[in-house]
């Protein structure tokens, strides 16, 4: 009798109970609970991925690989479309912006798939971009099966054409060479080379918790400060040319080129986003070098 009153949703004093209290009161005492055995079936509780899902998933994984390693948005959309069509897709709709790709696929038999990928980091890894592009060609030509694709994608993600010491040398070479290119002598080039080693080292040290903008500003500040300190120690060096050589290292050349190419191909949203990123990075470089010049600019005077 008491239980019945409680399940009505009203308390004994006539006040209405809260929904949580009503649910609590509906729990039966242990002696009234009867366990009904259920049959265990062979079928899994989840729906297995359809062929359309597999095709779209593979195409998007390659698209992500291209986007993350410095490819243009137009190339990503084109690649995903081509792979889906090569595996029997009738209607493919792809939309990509620098941080996301989403696509829908309708197969010839009417089955559909929709999927989305978030892109969290974009780097300048042109060799991996080449590998992913080659993978998409292989898939479209039928030389690579869908079953083998995940292993090939994982392999492409690990590819490194150069060891770390060579990457360090590359950054240093570019700083040193551009100091000479813009009118400096070999000594100016050597000074810029030394600063370039430190700047490349900053690039090589993993920095997952530092945002790209902040990292560019720190790198520029360190590069500018070191260059000015070296020029103060060796007054025969032309500080402006050493600084020009080092300023070339953090300049976002690839992002600038991609922003233009995205805009040309009609992807105005992606192009504008990338251009905004380039302008912000250029601002960060200016801030970093500006701060270094304000702090250490008077040393050589």
């Amino acid at each position: 009798m008491e239980n019945e009153k409680k399940t009505d949703g009203a308390a004994q004093d006539g006040k209405p109970l809260s929904p949580a209290a009503v649910m609590r009161n509906r729990i039966l005492p242990p002696e009234q609970i009867t366990v009904v055995p259920t049959e265990i079936t062979e079928e899994p509780a989840y729906t297995p991925a359809s062929y359309a899902d597999t095709v779209l998933g593979c195409a998007l994984d390659i698209g992500v690989g291209i986007q993350e390693n410095g490819g243009e948005v137009a190339r990503v959309e084109d690649t995903v479309t081509r792979i889906c069509r090569a595996f029997g897709g009738e209607s493919v709709r792809v939309f990509a912006i620098p941080n996301m790709i989403q696509a829908s696929l309708v197969m010839k038999d009417g089955t559909t798939a929709f999927s989305m990928r978030r892109i969290t980091s974009i780097s300048n890894h042109l060799y991996r971009l080449q590998c992913f592009n080659a993978l998409s060609r292989e898939l479209c030509a039928g030389r690579l099966s869908l079953a083998d694709a995940p292993a090939a994608i994982a392999q492409a993600e690990e590819k490194r054409p150069f060891p770390d010491w060579l990457l360090l040398l590359g950054g240093a070479l570019s700083a040193g060479a551009f100091a000479v290119f813009f009118g400096g002598n070999l000594l100016d080039g050597l000074a810029a080379f030394c600063v370039g080693v430190v700047m490349s080292l900053l690039d090589l040290i993993p920095h997952p918790h530092i945002h790209r903008m902040a990292h560019t500003m720190i790198e520029s500040f360190v590069g500018g400060s070191l260059a000015l300190l070296i020029c103060a120690l060796f007054p025969t060096l032309q500080s402006d040319l050493v600084l020009i050589g080092t300023i070339m290292v953090p300049i976002p050349g690839l992002a600038f080129g991609n922003s233009l190419r995205d805009m040309i191909s009609g992807n105005l949203i992606s192009g504008s986003l990338r251009l905004l990123e380039v302008l912000l990075l250029a601002g960060m470089i200016a801030l970093g070098y500006g701060a270094a010049m304000m702090l250490f600019g008077g040393l050589g005077a």
Partner: protein, 154 residues
């Protein structure tokens, strides 16, 4: 003349350096370095007869067309070739002088350098746009010819 060759070699070495930093594969890197030589020659040649903007337009058009052609030949994305080979055109010098002039409170000079930086960037952009348009026209024409041939054969 020696100065030019020194600058030329430095430009090529700089391209190699950037190519390594961008993890460009060896084959694409070799193609980029040759493209970089083309860029420097076109830029220097044009700067004898015209200003900063047009020289950059000419050099980046040549670079982008070369990259698109070579990308088809070696079956690689044109970005892989174009990015390192355009590096000698990047306006690092004017960007630096713009910053230093602003810090020295020489705003008029700073704005002038900033204008040059934007002009160079715009020149590179126009060059890429022009070559992109030429490439699109060539692809469209090629597809049309293929379709006509297919109709004739059928």
């Amino acid at each position: 003349m020696t100065e030019f060759w020194m600058m030329f070699i430095a430009g090529l070495v700089g391209t190699v350096g950037f190519g390594i930093t961008f993890h460009t594969g060896l084959k694409a890197l070799a193609v980029s370095v040759f493209g970089s030589a083309v860029v420097i020659f076109v830029y220097e040649g044009c700067s004898l007869v015209t200003g900063e903007l047009l020289s950059n337009v000419a050099a980046s058009t040549a670079a982008a067309l070369y990259a698109m052609l070579m990308a088809r030949l070696i079956r690689t994305p044109s970005t892989v070739i174009l990015t390192p080979e355009l590096i000698p055109l990047v306006p690092g010098r004017s960007l630096y002088y713009a910053i230093s002039s602003m810090i020295a409170r020489q705003y008029t000079v700073g704005v002038e350098y900033l204008r040059t930086t934007v002009e160079v960037a715009l020149g590179i952009a126009i060059g890429i746009v022009l070559s992109g348009t030429v490439d699109a026209i060539l692809i469209h024409t090629g597809e049309k010819i293929k379709k006509r041939r297919a109709v004739r054969h059928s």
